[in-house]
């Protein structure tokens, strides 16, 4: 039954990815004029000689004079074998530019999610059990701040404090000597010493949302008769809370990966830009500003796919935790 559900749900992800690929490609073709025109403009502005035959060859290769469907088909069949087209700004294949940045984005987003869970779960439980205590109010206030202050503003304020009061620069994911270095254990350790700052910045709003959800769910459960029964039977308070109400309150908590993950990806773009992280956000922005659409399209497509897979994982986890879902 569970396997059946997982297969059904996984199959559902494919039409979604197909739709996402159409969205991404529509964004590629959206700017006025095709890329080759923009490219030619950039060349002539910088005083280079525009080679008409080369432009014609580029048009031919991407089918730019063909209708949308054919252009899409050429693009997507390339994407499926790992060819995302050429970045005109960088003059090299898109595929070579994106994977390391996407990998770092992925690491950042997953660690943020784990961080948010690890922090929100105990705080949410505490807030619900000690309702209206000082700790609960402190958690609520932090929650509201996380809700109201945009990620990038937190990032800016932190950078300001770091520069003015501590004289250090908190941007980037690596120390300068590791930036161009190949991957090694030392580089990984260096990453760990930097990544916690964007994780905290990115995690605040997610933590805030999760605390609110956990608290509300647990409060609903705590007043139910089975809790009284368990208490009457002499269970210790700690075991009682963790074993029954928390387990039930966890269900909506698991489903939050579904909505939190797309939000994290969104938030990571802008936070990464402020902190100048070597992740996908800043390069995506740069590509969009330069109308380097194959590069931008690849990022948009892959970020959307991340997000859809995140939703899929969340649904499957939910089915594992809650048997009722599988039978719907």
């Amino acid at each position: 039954m569970l396997l059946n559900y997982i297969i059904r749900r996984t199959l559902w992800a494919f039409p979604f990815m197909f739709a996402a690929s159409i969205v991404a490609f529509a964004l590629i073709t959206l700017p006025p004029g095709d890329y080759v025109t923009t490219f030619a403009q950039t060349l002539s502005q910088s005083g280079d000689v525009v080679d008409e035959t080369r432009l014609a060859a580029l048009r031919e290769r991407y089918g730019l004079d063909q209708p949308f469907i054919i252009q899409y088909f050429r693009w997507i069949s390339g994407v499926l074998v790992g060819d995302f087209g050429i970045s005109f700004e960088w003059q090299q294949p898109v595929a070579g530019l994106i994977w390391e940045r996407l990998g770092l984005s992925f690491i950042l987003e997953i660690s943020t999610l784990i961080f948010a869970w690890g922090l929100a779960l105990p705080i949410g439980i505490y807030s619900a059990i000690r309702k209206y205590s000082v700790g609960d109010y402190v958690a609520s206030v932090i929650g509201f701040i996380g809700l109201a202050v945009p990620n990038f503003l937190i990032a800016l304020v932190l950078m300001y404090i770091a520069v003015v009061h501590f004289g250090t620069d908190v941007s980037g994911l690596f120390s300068p000597e590791y930036r161009q270095a190949p991957w090694s254990f030392d580089k990984f350790v260096n990453l760990l010493t930097h990544i916690w700052i964007p994780i905290i910045i990115l995690g605040t709003s997610t933590v805030a949302g999760l605390i609110r959800i956990m608290r509300a769910n647990l409060l609903d459960e705590l007043n139910k008769p089975y809790v009284t029964t368990a208490r009457a039977k002499g269970l210790t308070e700690f075991n009682l809370i963790l074993k029954y109400p928390v387990r039930l309150a966890l269900n909506p908590f698991v489903s939050t990966i579904g909505w939190a993950f797309p939000q994290l990806i969104s938030g990571a773009v802008i936070t990464a830009y402020v902190l100048a992280l070597p992740t996908s956000g800043p390069l995506l922005l740069q590509a969009l500003l330069a109308q380097d659409m194959y590069l931008a399209g690849a990022f948009i497509l892959l970020l959307c796919c991340f997000s859809i897979i995140g939703m899929l994982v969340s649904d499957i986890l939910l089915a594992i935790v809650d048997p009722r879902i599988r039978f719907r």
Binding site: P150, V163, Q263, I265, G297
Partner: protein, 379 residues
Amino acid sequence: MATVADPRAAELTADAHASQLVLTWRAFRKHKLALFSAIVVLLFAIVGIFAEFLAPFDPNVTTSKDLYHPPQGIHLIDTAEDGSWSVRPFVYAMKVTRDPMTLQSSYAPDENRKIYLGFFAEGASYSMWGLIPSNRHFVTTVNPAERFYLFGTDRLGRDVLSRTIHGTRISMSIGLLGVTLSLIIGLILGGLSGYYGGTIDMVVQRLVELILSLPTIPIWLGLSAALPQDWPPLIRYFAITVILSLVGWTELARVVRGRFLALRTEDFVTAARLDGGSQLRVIFRHMMPSMFSHIIASVTLAIPAMIIAETALSFLGLGLMPPTISWGVLLKEAQNVRSIAQAPWLFIPGGAVCLAVLALNFLGDGLRDAADPYSNDGR
């Protein structure tokens, strides 16, 4: 006392006669925080509406001698040299000293020079809403040649206070306009999906799920990058609004659909239908009033999301662009560490964003709890 025809009538309290609006208001009034937030939101609205009058200066005027001028504090009591005093608001002028090596200016208050301020004084001329020409400002310098800066100035010597006030108009209105557009899309699609069910419901629900599963900022960025750079500011403003609502309608559609599904099987709706009411009459006369308060609450909660989205887009340089002034455009000035280290007051528009977003969220929470005055869950 006359015999009562219906024994239930004897138990009727004043509450039972109150209209839904009165009941909602009573429930809402109990939320002190929401009530306070409503006042804050109202103040933001007033600032946005009367921006030209409330701003002391023209937000786009640059002053080459006041670059990164720090904020000045207002003094109310003016003491003359002979010891007599009077109530007259003024600020101390700042003396500039320029570092000969770095050419960086540093400002220090000059206690000998006072710049007097006047309420409703005459200053730079403007035309209110593009209609009424005037030159009166709520507070400005008495001598039009002088300037004062409550919030400091930016890198071109423009008054941050005036700019924040004008930004309030654009940022708040883009939230309101964007949500209105989202509401129209959400009402149509959510209503169709909830009222008819079946295949339409299936399609709309899948569409909502698809949009919810996509990360919004990359999509927004992609869409706004496609806007031609040479569009006039007003067109760009509307285009950005449309882009924001193209993604933002899903939550409202969900609420509308949920309410339609819940109401469809209610007795009074069935009665109206069996009574021969047309479909439009059933929807607008009988169902709409019952979901109105829920929609208002969801709309209030959707506005802050729009404001943050606009701020984020403009901050990244793909949303609104100068000369349009929005909070996001202003925060773009605070983008690099060097300028905020030198001029931390550039964060002030960010404070406005946070305050507005927080107030709208509290207001929305209060409205949502008050939206259903018949429920007795003790909230």
